[in-house]
Symmetry: C2
Subunit: 676 residues, 2 copies
């Protein structure tokens, strides 16, 4: 068959070339008026400063873990770990750079050239992130595969190291980014909107730059690292499962012509097809841009998806894999899409109106209704994940489950592009407001932003679904690694008390980390409130629009809070599986993976969706969609409270759950040989 | 060995005699002034009317299920099921009768005789419930054991039928009771306290009688049915596990002198010892009553606990069981106690002050802080449950885990007494307020009520811990039943996709039921709000204290809402395991049990504890314990909102989770032979 280890890095490099083209397409646009340029620079600088501060802290962590890995697994795994961390960090850096150049240029395009041009700039801003994630994943993993695929004994541990590197960065990027963005958002809203009565994104509010920086830090860098981790994790799990598959299972599902090497190479080849399809979908935006914006995004995604599935079918047929894998991949793709659609329903349809209605009797009923929606919203995605597992297992065994995850993530180039488009458009709106570009421009950016909210909701559902499947695939890989090392079948029976204890401790770990992140946002937001209040009081003429707010100080507060608060939950996630593995053994650790998976996924769904629905309930009241209620009324005040509660739900704790679950799984997979 | 089937019902009958004595001790007290008698009668009548309406609806459900059981398992299991339902219903009826006679007499004793006398009346009021639960459990299960213990093939299914009968009543009692009480509470608070600005328990508020009825319906009948179910379930699981234990395992843990029959009889004998110890502890209150009330309750519980553990040690030694079982029982008892203490910490110590502090920046930060406390509060109990499982398994195998649950629940006579004491004292306070007995009396009843809040928190933690262990024991029994029927070892491996699918569907079922109960409270409370507003508007002179509120109408609304809304979540809990068992088989159903257990227990802990801590944060501000804040201030308003959100958390959805988890397990245990 084709040499996946050679093709993947090459196509990855080509993909990076397209990312650079997208970047050029963004930066050669005008950045608008002097005021716009100044504001854009402030946001760009704030985001880059945060990223540098974060990475310089992560270097210490990566160094320590790499040292431990050298000691426990040898130099190769440690180098792979550093490589994974570097690749994830680099993708975040490139993506953030583009997004924070794209925001102000989107606003300028909206001002000077209209909707289509603005859409294209924002889309290209996002595409840099999307293509970087896909390309760097292929380059890194492909290169390792090229070097070590022949070494069946250690390839698993080496590529797992790469995946763990990606996970480590993702954990800190998600938690740190989540704390940064919500401290800024909650803090500036509480003082600005509620106390001082000035609009959102008002330039007089010292926290507003930090808020805009936060959108990038959380939704671009954080989301990117999350998806990068799933993308790599799904491939690593497939390769590991393939490497240890028994001949019987292979013969049963794939006939006798398929070899282990073919199955190991397949995920990389599929990712190659996915990247090529994504590039075509992304480049197509130059044509699609004249459609209605939300349709244009959909067509771009659909083009990539159809090309990917079509070319996959051909590849599988040509090399004689049979169609089982195709069905598994299709199940993953369709499952991911439907989870996204379910998320959209719960955060933008009838349930949101129920929350808005409940706001009429005050904040308490608004909160109760939101929690109820969050609980409800878990059902369909859990069912869809279960159905995807059943289907993909039946057509292609445990390998099929991992392939479903690969299928969900193969076109990450375009899905991540659309995710990252959201904060760029959001920022563009903020910059238009701060630069006083007037209602016409604001209308364009608001329109683009509104689509971004929907794509963000779908993207979050997608991220959770793919995280669940990836974690499950890693979990299966863990079990197989344990069996390989033990040299015998190992049963992790669900009534085995050690497994049950693991289940409970897995749930416990996830909940502790969730509590920590919630508390951190509260603390950091309180600091922000104090600082903004101080500036309103001490800076002469600030509220009258004559004084200049010290926005840098607010960015600094968010940065410091995020960097300080991300450490403890991060350590919990790494230490817990190590402690359970060495303290209680492989079965308890298996239980822990299942417990953290179940608890983490339900918590992520509940919190992300409840948060999203509170946010939109508030917006619907503001837009006059709820009869008899308007902005500033009692129901609106109640809805604002719900929205504020939802902020850390949907942007800090909920997303952190995804990473936690994957990180615990990958740590377990790496530990497997040591705890037998 | 002693004939457990003979002793248990006899001691149970004696226990019922003591329950009757306690009842006499309550009703021969004065019920106070005419006004007090009238209010007491209203609450009593409301509670009894609700119970009758509930039971007449349950008769239909019990009839249908009994019919299905006759068809699937024969007449004996069906009769046992009806028996379990009857016993649970009877315990609830007797207990409610006593509690709603005890409340007004507690108030009268506080008025006429002082603290010690009031404490004793409230305690005796609760003791009727405590002793009824323990005695009826022993009588019912003992009699079935006496009749069928020799029939090894069907004794498991017959006693499981009894347990399922208890579970079915419990589910509806908990959900219906929870909806009743919170609809009344939230509804009357929203209109009375928030809109009309009148105090809690003010006689002008039409919802206040329903609120007091609700305390009994939820915290006496609901809690009693919950504990009854755990008590019976723990014994059924032990008996079933013992019946199918392999000779190897028996020899390993208990030596060669212990027979299957001895192990099967043991849980009943331990419950007999527990009941005797409880009676002594309860009767001792006649002496302890002169101590400080909270100390008196503690000494009563401690007496019973010490007597139980001491006599158990003797029994185990005399009959040669060895001390393994003793350690398991001690682990259960100590674990339960510590879980209660952890609950007390999170709902009445430092974390509560953090929530109170967060109230200063408004309702949003109050809610965020409360959710964070709820998440945190899961950790220690989950760890304690895990530790109890590990210890009890190591000393006595899977049987040990069931025995830990039995140990936790054996002294249910006294623990349930103290639980039921709480709402009696709470009602006494309400009656004092409504009858205008003055601040001196109110001070006594408030003191008793405050202790009741602490005991209620501990009791809730205890209920969750025992439910978790009981469900786990039932789960183990289910697996063994599957293996007996299959005639071979059955593996439910945690990486088996069917098991994973079951895990996900188990979580889904629990979350759907949770969402339903939350929504129900919202709907019912809205109806109540509308009705109370109507009365304030339409009844002349009501707010001036001249008109008479139509309290019966409010009781009716709560009753109808509860009866209507309890059906859907109840059916979900029964149908889900049947559907998964028949649709996906025994392994998926096993996964479902684990998934529902994990999700249900964490959700119960989170919601109960968050709710309790919001409640107390509000109280601490009211009591002036938070510097610079007082009743009626901004922080207090924020805390009231948190408290209202917490109402359905802690009194409806949280407690419903316990039952759900146990009911799903018992349904699975009964189904086991049919799905192989």
């Amino acid at each position: 068959m084709l040499d996946a280890g050679l093709i993947a890095p090459i196509v990855g490099l080509v993909g990076l070339g397209f990312a650079f083209m997208s970047y050029r397409a963004v930066v050669r646009q005008s950045a608008g008026t002097d005021k716009m340029i100044a504001i854009g620079d402030e946001i760009h600088l704030g985001a880059m400063t945060f990223l540098k501060a974060e990475y310089s802290k992560l270097v210490v962590f990566v160094g320590i873990v790499a040292g431990l890995l050298v000691w426990g697994f040898g130099v190769q795994t440690a180098v792979a770990f550093v490589g994974g961390a570097l690749a994830s960090g680099l993708a975040g850096f490139i993506g953030m750079k583009a997004a924070t150049k794209g925001n102000v240029r989107t606003a300028a395009a909206a001002k000077d050239k209209g909707v289509a041009a603005a859409l294209l700039v924002a889309f290209n801003g996002g595409a840099v992130m999307g293509l970087s994630v896909a390309s760097l994943g292929l380059i890194g993993l492909g290169a390792l595969y090229f070097l070590f695929a022949g070494d069946k004994n250690s390839v698993g541990s080496i590529i797992s190291g790469f995946s763990m590197g990606a996970s480590s960065i993702a954990l800190f990027a998600r938690i740190g980014g989540g704390i940064f963005t919500k401290a800024a958002d909650v803090g500036s809203d509480l003082v600005g909107k509620v106390e001082a009565g000035i609009p959102e994104d008002d330039p007089r509010n010292p926290g507003v730059i930090a808020d805009n920086v936060g959108d990038n830090v959380g939704d671009v860098a954080g989301m990117g690292a999350d998806i990068f981790e799933s993308y790599v994790g799904a491939m690593v799990a497939s390769i590991t499962i393939a490497a240890t598959m028994s001949p019987d299972v292979m013969a049963k599902f794939f006939g006798t012509d398929v070899t282990t090497a073919m199955l190991m190479g397949l995920p990389l080849l599929l990712a190659v097809l996915g990247l090529i399809a994504s590039v075509i979908g992304i480049m197509g935006m130059n044509v699609f841009k004249n459609m209605d914006p939300s349709k244009a995004l959909f067509v771009s995604e659909l083009t990539a998806g159809a090309l990917f599935l079509g070319s996959t079918a051909v590849l599988l047929q040509v090399f004689g894999f049979g169609m089982g894998i195709f069905y598994a991949i299709t199940a993953g793709t369709v499952g991911g899409l439907l989870i996204g659609k379910a998320t959209e329903y719960y955060t933008a349809a009838a349930p949101v109106f129920k929350i808005a209605e409940a706001s009429k009797t005050g904040p308490a009923t608004n909160i109760i209704a939101g929690i109820a929606v969050g609980l409800q919203s878990c059902a369909i995605p859990l069912f869809l994940i279960a159905a995807t597992i059943l289907i993909s297992y039946n057509v292609a065994g445990l390998y099929g489950i991992a392939m479903a995850a690969v299928g969900m993530l193969a076109t990450v180039g375009v899905t991540m592009t659309i995710d990252a488009y959201g904060p760029v458009a959001d920022n563009a709106g903020g910059i238009s407001e701060m630069s006083e570009l007037g209602p016409e421009v604001r209308k364009i950016t608001d329109g683009l932003d509104a689509i971004g909210n929907t794509t963000a909701a779908i993207g979050k559902g997608f991220a959770i679904g793919s995280a669940a499947l990836t974690a499950l695939a890693l979990f299966v890989a863990y079990k197989q690694a344990v069996e390989v090392k033990a040299g015998t079948a190992v049963t992790m029976d669900i009534t085995n008390p050690l497994v049950v204890v693991g289940l409970l401790l897995g749930a416990m770990t996830v909940l502790i980390a969730a509590a920590m992140t919630m508390t951190s946002v509260g603390k950091a937001a309180a600091e922000m409130v104090t600082e903004i209040r101080r500036q309103f009081k001490e800076i002469p003429g600030l509220l009258e629009g004559k004084g200049k707010p010290d926005t840098a100080r607010c960015v600094e507060i968010s940065t410091n809070a995020a960097l300080k608060e991300m450490v403890a939950p991060g350590l919990v996630a790494v230490i817990a599986p190590v402690a359970v593995g060495f303290g209680l053994g492989a079965e308890a650790l298996g239980g822990m993976l299942a417990g953290s998976l179940l608890t983490g996924v339900t918590r992520a769904l509940l919190m992300s969706n409840a948060g999203g629905s509170w946010d939109n309930a508030k917006k619907y009241i503001e837009q006059g969609q709820v009869e008899g209620e308007k902005k500033g009324g009692d129901a609106h005040s109640a809805a604002v409270i719900g929205d504020t509660v939802g902020d850390p739900f949907k942007d800090t704790t909920g997303p952190a759950m995804n990473i936690l679950v994957k990180l615990i799984s990958i740590v377990a997979l790496i530990l497997a040989p040591l705890i037998i």
